[in-house]
């Protein structure tokens, strides 16, 4: 936490310690009174629900509260705990591979080779263990919920890097003494602030499967056949290349890709604004020095801007990543029955368990699982990328 300035009313050494302590009690009371409303509300609707969710997740709570059933809800969701263990072991092997590889890169030549081989072995082993664990989980668990997890991941990987990249490029261009900078900034930010329900309704129309829809018109300009967009449950690779991949390897469905495009459209502007502020804080001398050294525009971008802006990039990536795991409103609005559940990210799946099926205890267990995954991924992202961030 940042430094808190010395207490303004701090008692200076004074002989009248009795009245001082009375004043301190008063000071304490004022403080508690001031924070009382916020603490009550956040405590009741922000903190208490976490503990209560854990409690609910151990009960058979379908619309009405039922008896204690231990971990059954978790078992129903994840299938088979030995499968989960295998899955986690696979991930740990991936982590091990990452560390071995990093170590090897820093050491002498023939160690690199050994390290590379070891890392590759760990990677292959991890992949095998992970996929067999996942297979066990899918076979015994709740397919709708388990499938929501890779769908959520696809959604994250589809939106976050693209919106960061576009945001940085646009911000960098805007930073170059551009005429009408304010106007551009205002326009880019528009999608972010407008209600997601309203814009999602518009995108439902733009990405409609009709031949005359705007998205299909854009395709026809390139001579491409019309597509079914939000109504297309087939994986996008299969649609485009006519391949026949199944499962995780096939990637996101066409319907999910349409939602990813909407996600990018919404959040690029936010990234532009924050990147612009970050670019403003890079000292001009750095660019001048690079210019004197004969750096080209691209070199300056690559070797000055990108490293110096990395704390901002890291912050935005973290916020965006957590955001995609929470995403609900626009996905809920843009999903169609024809997409056959291929766009149901975790938060939507949990909402269905709870709102449609009235299975509260089970939904709470699913929510706790999601929470653990978010926490783990955030931690991993912190560990991996904080090394690469340059804090000037």
């Amino acid at each position: 936490m940042t430094a808190i300035p010395a207490h303004p009313g701090a008692p200076k050494s004074s002989p009248r310690s009795v009245s001082m302590s009375r004043q301190r009690i008063k000071e304490n009371l004022t403080g508690y009174l001031f924070i009382l409303p916020s603490v009550l509300i956040i405590g009741l609707f922000g903190l208490f629900p976490i503990i209560f969710s854990v409690y609910m997740s151990t009960l058979n709570w379908r619309a009405r509260k039922g008896g204690f059933i231990g971990l059954s809800n978790y078992q129903q969701a994840l299938g088979d705990f030995s499968g989960v263990l295998l899955f986690v072991a696979g991930i740990l092997l991936f982590v091990a591979a990452y560390f071995i590889w990093n170590r090897a890169l820093r050491s002498s030549d023939n160690r690199v080779l050994i390290g590379g081989v070891l890392a590759a072995l760990a990677l292959i082993g991890g992949g095998y263990v992970l996929s067999s664990g996942w297979g066990q989980m899918i076979a015994a668990g709740d397919k709708r919920f388990l499938n929501a997890l890779p769908i959520t991941l696809f959604y994250s990987l589809g939106t976050v890097p693209a919106e960061l990249f576009l945001g940085l490029v646009l911000a960098y261009i805007l930073f170059q003494k551009i005429r009408g900078k304010e106007l551009f900034r205002m326009i880019y930010f528009l999608p972010y602030i407008t209600p997601a329900i309203a814009t999602a309704v518009v995108f439902r129309n733009i990405f409609s499967p009709r031949e005359s829809s705007l998205a299909n018109w854009a395709l026809s300009a390139f001579g491409i056949e019309p597509m079914k967009w939000l109504f297309e449950p087939r994986p996008i690779i299969n649609v485009i290349f006519g391949t026949n991949f199944e499962g995780f390897l096939a990637g996101p469905s066409m319907a999910l890709v349409s939602i990813i495009l909407y996600g990018i459209w919404t959040y690029v502007g936010y990234n532009v604004i924050v990147f612009l502020a970050g670019l403003g804080s890079i000292p001009n001398e750095t660019y001048e020095a690079a210019e004197i050294d004969g750096a080209s525009h691209w070199q300056m971008f690559r070797h000055v801007t990108v490293p110096l802006i990395s704390p901002v990039t890291f912050y935005l990536a973290l916020v965006a990543f957590i955001g995609t795991f929470k995403a609900f409103n626009h996905i809920y609005v843009m999903r169609t029955p024809n997409a056959l559940g291929t766009v149901d990210v975790a938060s939507v799946a949990i909402f269905d368990t709870f709102y449609k099926m009235n299975n509260y205890g089970y939904a709470a267990a699913q929510a706790i699982i999601l929470f653990v995954i978010i926490a783990a991924l955030t931690y991993a992202q912190n560990r991996i990328f904080s090394e690469k961030v340059f804090y000037g």
Partner: protein, 300 residues
Amino acid sequence: MANREQVIYQQTAERARAESRVFRFKPGRAILYLILILGAVLAVLPFFWMVSNSLMTLGETINRRWLPAVPQIQNYLEAWEEANFAKYFWNSVVITFTTCTGLLISSILAGYAFGRIRFVGRDVIFAILLSTLMIPESVTVIPSLLIIRGSVIPLPGGSWLNTLQALTVPFMANAFSIFLLRQFFAGIPNELWDAARIDGAGHLRFLGQIVLPISKAPIMTVLIFAFIGSWNAFMWPLLVTTRETWRPLMVGLWNFVTEAGPQTQLLMAGSVITIIPILILYFFTQKQFTEGIATTGLKG
């Protein structure tokens, strides 16, 4: 005098040179503008589509026209009537106003206390409150709904389903707003507080007379975020409004989507209606908006 004129002359000359540098045609710069304009077109196109379709006949929306032959203003009236928007719009206004008021009061007080009053356990409590920023809505929403229904703790008046309290009270405090205000309040020089204390002012009077007048920028930022969050809220209102009594505009629009089905022009008119207040707010507070986001985005 001559010196001054010379300076002005030099400045003008310099500016002219600088401008000529900008105006000189460079293919590189043209590409930059092209990229920017392409981005702007893509950002605006859905809005254009929304407005133009809202003014079309049903046939025109199906056959993909860019502009209506004759603008059908009555679409707006029809959507307004058919979807019961008059009621929902008013509900949203009241909900947003109530939430913003409550949030401002609670977070100004808390931000002040965390920034300027020393009490036992202050930093621990603050850290605990901040940790709630990480928690996904999926986790908190189920217990929160049970609380609102009155089935976890006794609430005044039994169940709060379909009440104004249910839609506003849970949003009348959040860690983000408190954090933002605390950072600003903590930076106010201590001399001001010492002077106020000599005049016999307590914390409340110091807050009201000295702190608030100089804190317009951060308060405005908090207010803007609260307004957007409240106006755009969807999942929670969907859960706690089973009847029309307090149903807000976003839920009304969603119901309209599921009912109106293929009536594209009415749906688009409805969407335009829901975004107008946000657009008005945005155009008037544009600078504070983007600056607020930029600074909070960086300080996070």
